[in-house]
């Protein structure tokens, strides 16, 4: 049975698409057949981050309206044969997203795939609501600042009340916290909320902390999911997240400030 994961946050620019790309790639690399769907109709970005923007022929709306089949629209990743991307439409109106249409697509994908990652748009409008409606698990992406934390809190409220699971009185969606763009140095000088502060407000199971890192932007610009950059701290942090989600016991990293050794002090940090 396929597991549907929604990556959501409420607030924009916190790293939903980066996270969707990274965990989808991570799950696929572990050998699970994974599809990742961009729900941000009109502002599609996932294809850029995945580096497949030139290969987009059909999109999500085409499949909903029956202009293309799911098989035609799915783009197979060139780096990992277990990963498929279903891009959003850049030109169509987001009213084309219907609950029935999405339900049908997910049902069809569930026959073939192990994990389906839904990249939610920001806000609490139709796209975001539909991305979460069918979910089994939710990755709530939050930055360590008050606005992002409050929006995530609001999102958690909606997750608890407006999903298929809540409407059918089933077991609620499993919610996980992903703290992104975390900088221990800035937490130390009080410019950023700490992991404990965020946990105190959200009371959520922490799946991982992704450090603020230049490698994220570099990877995005290059069209490579950052998880493939095994050298980078952010890439390693996402690898940990995927491992933890799959049940492995990994200690949390990147929460405390890195101690600079003598070598680093002399030659400078990266």
């Amino acid at each position: 049975m396929a597991r549907i994961i929604v990556v959501t946050s409420g607030k924009g620019g916190v790293g939903k698409t980066t996270t969707s790309a990274a965990i989808a790639m991570g799950l696929a690399k572990k050998g699970h057949k994974t599809a990742v769907i961009d729900f941000d109709v009109g502002l599609r970005n996932l294809d850029l981050i995945m580096g497949c923007e030139r290969r987009v022929v059909y999109d999500l709306i085409n499949v909903i309206t029956g202009e293309a089949t799911l098989r035609q629209a799915l783009i197979k990743d060139k780096r990992c044969n277990q990963l498929f991307i279903l891009p959003a439409s850049q030109t169509r109106d987001k009213d084309g997203l219907t609950k029935e249409g999405i339900g049908k697509i997910l049902e069809e994908l569930a026959k073939d795939f192990k994990y389906i990652v839904c990249d939610s748009p920001a806000g609490i409008e139709r796209g975001a609501n539909l991305a979460m409606y069918f979910a089994d698990d939710a990755f709530v992406v939050t930055n360590p600042e008050v606005a992002s934390v409050r929006d995530s809190d609001r999102m958690l409220g909606i997750l608890a009340s407006k999903s298929r699971r809540s409407e059918n009185d089933e077991e609620p969606i499993k919610e996980y916290l992903l703290l992104t763009r975390y900088s221990p140095e800035r937490v130390k000088i009080g410019e950023m909320l700490s992991v404990e502060d965020v946990q105190d407000i959200l009371s959520l199971h922490l799946l991982g902390v992704i450090p603020e890192s230049k490698s994220v932007l570099t990877a995005s610009n290059a069209g490579t999911p950052v998880i493939l950059d095994e050298e980078s701290d952010a890439g390693q942090a996402y690898a940990d997240v995927v491992a933890r989600y799959l049940g492995e016991d990994k200690p949390h990293r990147f929460i405390d400030e890195e101690k600079k050794g003598l070598f680093r002090t002399i030659f400078g940090s990266k």
Partner: protein
């Protein structure tokens, strides 16, 4: 004669039905003897003529009917209207009385008055031949209390309303609103808004493990975050009303 049959279209709606509640004095009838009633009403009016002028009133026939006394309802209403007191409804009436009231353009209420309404807002016409116990037995109707228990955090944007007491085993986030007609217990941090005793229960209280509320209110008496003593916030606290004043104290 106007032949214009076209109804004008307004972009804004011209009316709206809303619900509200306000207190109306209740005239409880104990005795069917009209002369006696009239005499005592006259005495009451003489005590406070301004108060009774154009006063809306609810006529309660429950006690009277309970004792099998047949009051002449139409005569009583006619008399009250003459005295510039306007009955706006009857309650506790039997089928015949309800029908009669309707003919007099007065609606009948099936809701039985509770004890609080009887003592606070009623105009009692006590006559000597009525035993006190009768009154008590007729007013002892307590509605079932619907308490609510919540084990999950109340998230920003969520609203919860309990008809009785509200118990929350987790925290209440900023931007959330919890309301109860009774007490509110929060076994976590209270960061949102909490309103207890929303239907007028002044004895209700708010309890929480940490008080960082945006607003706390009991029966409409409220304090916002800036008015709450910061020293209280990190310890268990309670909020209650004393002499119309909101008191916030550590437990």
């Amino acid at each position: 004669m106007s032949t214009d049959t076209e109804t004008p279209t307004y972009t804004k709606s011209a009316l709206e039905f809303k619900s509200t509640s306000f207190s109306v004095p209740i005239l409880v009838i104990f005795n069917a003897e009209l002369v006696q009633l009239e005499c005592q009403i006259e005495q009451k009016i003489a005590q406070a003529p301004e108060f009774f002028k154009n006063l809306p009133i609810l006529v309660d026939l429950q006690t009277c009917n309970h004792q099998q006394q047949k009051v002449d309802l139409s005569a009583l209403i006619k008399y009250l209207r003459n005295k510039k007191i306007f009955p706006i409804g009857i309650c506790g009436g039997n089928k015949k009385q309800n029908k009669l009231a309707l003919e007099l353009n007065i609606p009948s209420h099936t809701v039985q008055r509770n004890s609080a309404a009887a003592t606070d807002a009623s105009l009692k016409l006590n006559t000597t031949n009525i035993e006190k116990s009768n009154e008590n037995s007729s007013s002892e109707i307590t509605p079932p209390v619907e308490n609510m228990l919540i084990t999950q955090p109340i998230r920003s944007g969520q609203r919860v309303y309990a008809k009785g007491d509200l118990t929350i085993l987790s925290h209440v986030s900023a931007g959330a609103e919890v309301m109860a007609e009774g007490n509110i217990h929060v076994y976590g941090a209270l960061r949102g808004r909490a309103l207890a005793g929303v239907q007028g229960n002044t004895n209700s209280r708010i309890f929480c493990s940490e008080l960082h509320a945006e607003l706390v209110s009991i029966d409409g008496h409220y304090k916002i975050n800036g008015e709450i003593d910061k020293g209280i916030s990190s310890n268990p606290a309670q909020v209650y009303l004393q002499n119309q004043k909101l008191i916030i104290k550590n437990l």
